[in-house]
């Protein structure tokens, strides 16, 4: 069985661009949630978000590119460039053996939102005026354009696709990429996810179902997973892209390895498009299957990177799923949600969480759950409140849950370089 390792990482996240800034923010327990500045959010119920400070020009996009590429595409390209440079893989790439699996929950929704206002005369005309549309509207319409941009940047000629499974898109895209390497369809995959959903339509639709936090008077502490006072998630944005490589290939070229992708599984709850059953059984089953694939006992898990969105429904569902799958070990293992600091960037967040999980292994540190001061009595695990914890961690479990009923689990392990495959 081929093994798959992470040999490169690039990040665009709220609080800073680059993997280094990302990890500094997380381990400091700082939050990047604030009042929305990307558009005038005054009429909205939730007027807060975790925004990335991102200047296209600073990242080499000329004005035409900055105009053509949706913000989600720009994030992914910047993250992909950093990941490629970080991995040092570029000079050894065989294009036909290189692929891209990029996740995104809402694709180019920001571009679509903005363009709709233009072609519909600010919503006055149902028969929109196509002559007023930007020439690249089709790229916004079908978001596989996001994966295509990354593939062109990397020169990938192997399998390329966009995985769009709502809020598990990031985890699922990475799991899919690992599978392509294992089955022999590619040797190197650029994988991760991107989303830039802080736009009027997305904020409005989460307003409509009251899923996002209305804590507009205190944006910095608004994302409060597992805390009794939580009142919804805080929207985020960003992208993480990883270079996944077949283990022997990485070893031959002496590549630095962050972690191994040891197991992945997903299940569906077939219950409700947005609702979760309280018992967490499908997520528990995904966790069990991912650990089985990794050939690890549940007691091996040294850190759980939680979905931890900060909705009451999620936090209880997830806590139940962890108890159900990890048994009494659930009480012994540190759990944390980085959404407390960088918000919930929908499909992208899974990729950022896998990046954080890999860094937790590399740096012997568990990032905290910020803003956790009054634990919900129904959430009784060790959620690593407020302060990062130094701790050697060899195995990380990262989980995700999404609209459509998707439940995913991925297992990362410290690379065992001496061991044969």
């Amino acid at each position: 069985m081929k093994r798959v390792v992470i040999t490169g990482m690039g990040v665009v996240a709220p609080g800073g661009v680059g993997a280094k800034a990302f990890w500094e923010l997380l381990t400091a327990g700082r939050t990047a949630t604030r009042e929305i500045t990307l558009f005038d959010a005054a009429p909205y119920r939730s007027r807060i978000a975790a925004e990335a400070d991102f200047d296209p020009a600073e990242h080499g996009f000329d004005p035409a590119e900055a105009e053509r590429l949706d913000r989600a595409a720009q994030f992914a390209l910047v993250a992909a460039r950093e990941a490629l440079a970080d991995s040092g893989v570029q000079d050894t790439l065989d294009p036909s053996r290189t692929g891209v699996s990029l996740g995104s929950a809402v694709g180019c929704t920001t571009g679509l939102d903005t363009e709709y206002a233009v072609v519909s005369n600010s919503g006055r005309d149902w028969a929109v005026d196509h002559d007023r549309a930007v020439p690249h509207l089709y790229d916004y319409f079908v978001p596989s354009s996001l994966a295509a941009e990354v593939a062109r940047a990397a020169g990938a000629q192997g399998p390329v696709s966009l995985v769009s499974n709502g809020c598990t898109s990031g985890l699922d895209a990475i799991g899919y990429a690992a599978e392509l390497i294992r089955e022999g369809s590619a040797d190197v995959m650029l994988t991760g996810a991107t989303d830039a959903p802080i736009s009027p339509i997305t904020v409005a639709c989460f307003d409509a179902i009251k899923a996002t936090s209305p804590r507009n008077d205190d944006p910095a502490t608004a994302s409060r997973p597992f805390d009794r006072t939580r009142n919804g998630f805080v929207l985020g944005e960003g992208s993480a892209v990883l270079v996944l490589e077949e283990f022997e290939r990485a070893r031959r070229r002496g590549a630095p390895v962050y972690a191994e992708i040891s197991g992945f599984a997903s299940r569906s709850n077939a219950y409700h498009m947005t609702g979760l059953r309280t018992d967490g059984r499908e997520m528990a089953e995904a966790i069990r299957a991912a650990l089985d694939e990794a050939r690890l006992d549940r007691t091996a898990v040294g850190y759980v990177n939680a979905h931890g969105s900060g909705t009451r429904q999620n936090d209880r569902h997830e806590t139940a799923a962890l108890k159900r799958s990890l048994g009494s070990h659930a009480h012994d293992v540190p759990v944390s949600s980085i959404k407390s600091m960088i918000g919930h960037s929908l499909g992208a967040i899974g990729s950022l969480e896998v990046a954080a999980s890999a860094l937790a292994i590399t740096h012997h540190t568990v990032p905290p759950t910020a803003n956790l001061h009054e634990p919900d009595p129904e959430c009784d695990l060790d959620y690593t409140p407020n302060t990062a914890r130094e701790q050697r961690t060899d195995t990380v479990l990262s989980v995700g849950s999404g609209f459509g009923g998707f439940q995913s689990a991925i297992v990362l392990t410290r690379p065992r370089l001496a061991e044969a495959a």
Partner: protein, 418 residues
């Protein structure tokens, strides 16, 4: 290409290898027929479903033809509770998924826990639903956006709703690679079968026939502006002038071969090989995808009895595809067809519909025709089946090709049951 996928090593009887994925159910919604039987009969009659757009007033646009699914009454297929929560694309998907399950004669409730999943291809989600909500947002304000927008529009909506209706709790998801998605989704579902999930629903059904979707298509600039349905979409013809957009697609019940045999299921054929490539450098790697799919299936080019072409209906793209096919099989070396000439290009649904056509061609030993096109252009040296179905052929293995805008290529090899 220097390497091939080692997962499915060549074997004399691919359909009996453990982990082999066979198709036991087909559901179809197409512009020239709603339901598999109605559509296939229309295809063999050479009946086109392309006509003037009726779903919205297209008189002000430079393109006024499309392929619309006829006779679909949503309320017959979707509960009144679900109607306000769903776009047309989801309603069509639910109807087509049910047909596929009924055709397979399988009750998912009887499967082991987590024993069935769903992977669909999507391209634009519930786009018409999305337009209504964008219209509400921009004309009336954020408070008028529907509570259903958060899940009625996004790309995984069809997968989620099919999973919920039929209680399918196995690994599931959605794949987006424009027109290549209809094969990529099936490849991903086949992977899940290999990993141990006994049954998957997969394929693609698509629809974005609203002014907003139309604006996106028009911006793309690949559409035929003809007003005569008979000559609007002429793949491989010297007079090709773009394509016509349609809605619909196909969904399949895919089962692990052994499990299907145990329950005595009727089998259309196996998904013997799949592959995908990308044109990162501007050159066309469609032929590479085909070669990889053949290798994955453990067959050679001599085993392929018919090719279902991507058939862009654009001169340059048609030439490139004809060159890829001729390069692989020789000039005029294999029968080629494009029944999508009768349906238009269906976004994520198109390649799935071609896969359905390939499976039924193998079953009935007949190659459906490419209509409209009388003969391929001189620079397209392929044996295109035109005019009438070609019978009296021995069909055991078919190759289906698909290309997605932006550089996506996909190929699938389908082998006859038995």
């Amino acid at each position: 290409m220097t390497t091939t996928s080692p997962v499915c090593a060549p074997s004399p009887s691919p359909a009996t290898r453990p982990g082999t994925a066979v198709v036991t159910g087909i559901g179809v919604a197409a512009p020239n027929g709603f339901g598999t039987a109605a559509w296939w009969a229309a295809v063999l009659r050479g009946e086109s479903g392309i006509g003037p757009i009726t779903r919205f007033d297209a008189s002000g646009y430079p393109v006024r033809l499309a392929g619309e699914v006829p006779g679909f009454v949503a309320a017959d297929h979707v509960s009144s509770r679900l109607l306000p929560q769903t776009d047309r694309v989801t309603r069509l998907s639910l109807a087509v998924a049910r047909e596929a399950l009924d055709d397979a004669g399988v009750d998912p409730a009887g499967l082991p826990d987590y024993g069935a999943g769903v992977v669909t291809a999507s391209s634009a989600g519930g786009f018409e639903f999305g337009q209504r909500e964008l219209q509400a947002l921009w004309s009336r304000g954020s408070r008028y956006v529907s509570a259903y927008q958060s899940f009625a529009w996004f790309y995984a909506v069809n997968t989620g709703q099919i999973s919920i209706r039929h209680g399918l709790r196995g690994p599931s998801g959605a794949v987006v690679s424009e027109q290549a998605g209809g094969l990529d989704a099936v490849a991903q579902a086949r992977r899940q079968i290999r990993r141990g999930t006994p049954l998957m629903i997969t394929g693609g059904v698509d629809s974005a026939l609203c002014p907003w979707g139309w604006a996106a298509h028009l911006a793309d600039g690949r559409l035929s502006t003809a007003d005569d349905p008979a000559v609007a979409f002429l793949p491989f013809d010297a007079g090709a002038r773009g394509h016509v957009v349609g809605e619909g697609g196909a969904l399949f019940v895919l089962e692990e071969a052994e499990a299907a045999r145990e329950r005595g299921a009727a089998v259309y054929g196996s998904i013997a090989g799949c592959a995908a490539t990308f044109d990162a450098d501007g050159s066309a790697h469609l032929a590479d995808a085909a070669r990889l799919a053949l290798a994955d299936a453990g067959v050679t080019r001599h085993d392929i009895d018919v090719v279902f072409a991507d058939a862009a209906g654009d001169r340059a793209a048609d030439r490139a595809e004809a060159a890829a096919i001729a390069g692989l099989f020789g000039r005029f070396g294999v029968p080629v067809t494009a029944p999508k000439s009768m349906a238009g290009r269906l976004l994520a649904g198109g390649a799935s519909l071609d896969l359905a056509a390939a499976l039924l061609a193998l079953r009935d030993q007949v190659i459906p025709p490419t209509t409209g096109t009388r003969r391929p252009a001189d620079d397209c040296p392929i044996d295109l089946v035109t005019g009438a179905p070609r019978r009296g052929v021995r069909l055991r293995t078919a190759l289906v090709l698909a290309r997605g805008q932006g550089g996506f290529n996909a190929a699938a090899v389908v082998s006859r049951a038995d």
